[in-house]
């Protein structure tokens, strides 16, 4: 009896590691399989609003009906392709902007004195203390025609007429860059902060001016931080729904908005699921490729 118990009671270690696996299984893999299943069915007016994949044709015949029409539909109607491409374009530009703004911030944080560093780190994470939605709403107040920005510019005499900023692409970029900047700064900071500064002294010793040392040593060594930051910004930005619908032009095609329309307005769950699955594939394949490239070489440049 005792032996039986020890054989079947999991060890402490496997118990601890099983928790994250269980979590991923329950809240990630199972929903994904459900969405995948729905994407292969056809819509119908019922509850739930899609046909089952499996049904018994006769007593001994189980019929599986895979409807590939949803995916074919995504290709046939160029609305979806355009929405995907536009989302990827917007996300890519936003990621680049975040990198250009975030890198200098992360760099100066990493090179400041330890006490200032902690204050700066707190300031970067401070926006998270307010709801994301509220912060996006606040931008409406800033960007609208009689908002903070336009009024300030008019009172300074820079412009006579308010500039239309809300409901433009500009507002969407502002919103995305503002919201996702901390996700760029934090991994970059973590990477730059642990860099061995004697490497820069060695570079200077071998004839590098400070800017050359940055280009040849700091920048290549922060590669992993750049990749991590870009993924953290790019992935959620592609599927972003709230920011374009609050700040952007209602006609702006974004895949997140298309998904929302399919799901809630058209109640076409299968097509909505197909849109989601296709989006996932678009994102997962390049990420897996990046991940493999990253694993090919171990982490470098860390201080010993």
């Amino acid at each position: 009896m005792k032996r039986w118990l020890t054989r079947w009671t999991p060890s402490g270690r496997s118990l601890v590691t099983s928790v994250p696996y269980l979590w991923l299984l329950l809240f990630f893999l199972v929903p994904f399989v459900i969405v995948l299943k729905i994407s292969f069915s056809a819509s119908q007016i019922a509850m739930p609003p899609y046909q089952p994949l499996f049904h018994w044709a006769s007593e001994k015949v189980l019929q599986i009906q895979l409807n590939l029409g949803n995916f074919a539909f995504l290709v046939e109607d160029n609305l979806y392709i355009r929405a995907y491409l536009n989302s990827i374009f917007v996300a890519a530009v936003s990621t680049l902007l975040c990198l250009l703004i975030g890198y200098p911030i992360a760099y100066s944080m990493a090179r400041s004195s330890p006490s200032t560093r902690n204050i700066l780190l707190l300031l970067v994470t401070l926006p998270f203390f307010t709801s994301f939605l509220l912060r996006v709403y606040a931008w409406i107040g800033i960007l609208k025609n009689n908002g903070l920005l336009n009024n300030t510019l008019i009172s300074l005499g820079v412009i006579d007429q308010p500039i239309q900023m809300l409901q433009t692409d500009f507002a969407v970029y502002v919103g995305i860059v503002y919201s996702y900047l901390p996700f760029m700064i934090l991994p970059l900071y973590a990477n730059l902060e642990k860099m061995d500064l004697t490497l820069l002294e060695a570079a200077a010793d071998l004839g590098c001016k400070p800017w050359q040392g940055f280009l040849k040593i700091t920048l290549p060594l922060s590669k992993h931080g750049v990749i991590a930051g870009c993924l953290l910004v790019f992935i959620p930005a592609v599927g972003e729904f709230v920011i374009p619908s609050l700040l952007g032009d209602p006609g702006m095609l974004m895949i997140g908005k298309v998904l929302w329309t399919e799901f809630f307005n058209n109640r076409d769950w299968p097509v909505a699921s197909a849109v989601a699955i296709a989006l996932l594939m678009f994102l997962v394949i390049p990420i897996m490729y990046l991940d493999r490239a990253q694993n090919a070489e171990p982490a470098e440049g860390a201080r010993k």
């Binding site: 490497l199 060695a202 570079a203 071998l206 004839g207 050359q212 060594l221 470098e300």
Partner: protein, 381 residues
């Protein structure tokens, strides 16, 4: 003490030649960090092709001095000349100086080859010349077959040689080495010391080495500059530092020593007698000493310059009686810790000349110590 590999080479003593020009000139250099004085009014002349060791305990300012030579720190006051050019305000990337870092600071994202080529590429040399020089240098440090490896695939000793190759390939006028052997284990360290000297002789580069290890300094250097609290305490060849220390600090830092505190009871130009509270007989030194009458002085005697015997020496001076407290058998020699009647412990080393040692003195035996009148070094501070 390890035998110096320099013993085999011909005499190289430019510092004794009044006409010789110094290559590196440090003039009254002081460096302060806030209120802390890291380097205090140091002046040094270092000659071409020397291996000059800055020796001292950690925090004595030796690394700060080295970093000022490399250009990473600016002196608070004073000037540094290399080959007669004032380097004080020149940034590190424009100095004809290269440094080997204690942590090696090898670029982890580059291969061995790229690391070594880095400095040459920075100079904008032709590709073929870079390749040639990198290959020659990798052959010299015996890393030829590791050229394509990344640093994390190398052992500690190999990394050390990459760092050396990278700093030497630019043919610097002066190579600065910060604790070059500290990260290596003992066997490898001894081997590398000799290799370092060979490379230095092949290339004819002037070396300035920072180390806290006095044995390393003795083995490597043409001259040693011993530092304490930011000041240079004494500069000299390894044997000068060992046999003619100018203070108790130097005698105790380099090698081990027995120091007896006492007063002069006879002060003649050709000899002195010193009375010590710890010893029954006075110390007789066969040369004159310059000291204020009545002042406290110290006689320092090296452990290997004292003999141990069972018979009482016939001389009236230079002996003591003691009890054997401890013996450490080291193979080539034995270390005896002997307790004087005053309670002071004296350290004596005796070479084990004969294999059979039945008649050697043993624990708790009463013995007599004796030394030659030329052995004690008298220091006044």
């Amino acid at each position: 003490m390890a035998t110096s590999p320099r013993a085999t080479q011909q005499k190289f003593e430019p510092w004794t030649d009044p006409d010789a020009k110094s290559y590196v000139r440090i003039e009254k250099v002081t460096k302060k960090f806030g209120d802390f004085i890291a380097v205090d009014d140091v002046s040094l002349h270092i000659y071409k092709k020397e291996i000059f060791c800055l020796l001292g305990a950690s925090g004595c300012g030796k690394t700060t001095l080295l970093r000022m030579l490399a250009g990473f720190e600016r002196p608070t006051s004073g000037k540094i000349f290399i080959d007669d050019v004032d380097m004080t305000a020149i940034p590190p990337y424009e100095r004809p100086v290269n440094m080997m870092f204690q942590s090696y600071a090898i670029f982890p994202h580059m291969t061995v080859e790229q690391n070594v080529a880095f400095g040459l590429k920075q100079e904008g040399l032709a590709k073929t010349e870079i390749e040639g020089r990198v290959n020659d240098m990798l052959q010299l440090v015996k890393l030829g077959q590791f050229a394509k490896r990344k640093p994390h695939q190398l052992s500690g000793g190999q990394r050390q040689r990459v760092a050396l190759a990278r700093s030497l390939v630019k043919k610097p006028k002066l190579l600065l080495l910060d604790e070059p052997l500290a990260a290596l284990d003992k066997k490898l360290r001894e081997h590398t010391q000799f290799e370092l000297i060979n490379i230095q002789e092949t290339l004819g580069v002037t070396f300035i080495v920072v180390t806290h290890d006095q044995e390393e300094a003795m083995t490597l250097s043409t001259r040693i500059g011993l530092m304490n609290h930011g000041e240079i305490v004494q500069v000299g060849t390894p044997s000068e530092m060992y046999e003619y220390p100018n203070s108790r600090f130097v005698s105790e830092f380099i090698g081990s020593v027995n120091t007896f505190e006492g007063k002069l009871i006879e002060d003649e130009p050709s000899y002195v007698r010193i009375e010590c509270a710890d010893l029954e007989a006075p110390i007789f030194v066969n040369h004159g000493v310059s000291s204020a009458p009545g002042a406290t002085i110290w006689a320092a005697i090296r452990p290997e310059k004292i003999t141990v015997s069972r018979e009482k020496p016939a001389d009236a001076d230079n002996w003591a009686s003691a009890v054997v407290r401890d013996i450490a058998y080291m193979g080539d020699m034995s270390i005896y810790l002997l307790k004087l009647d005053s309670g002071k412990i004296v350290r004596v080393t005796q070479p084990n000349v004969y294999r059979h040692a039945d008649d050697r003195v043993t624990w708790d035996e009463r013995v007599y110590l004796h030394w030659h009148s030329s052995s004690p070094v008298v220091v006044t501070k």
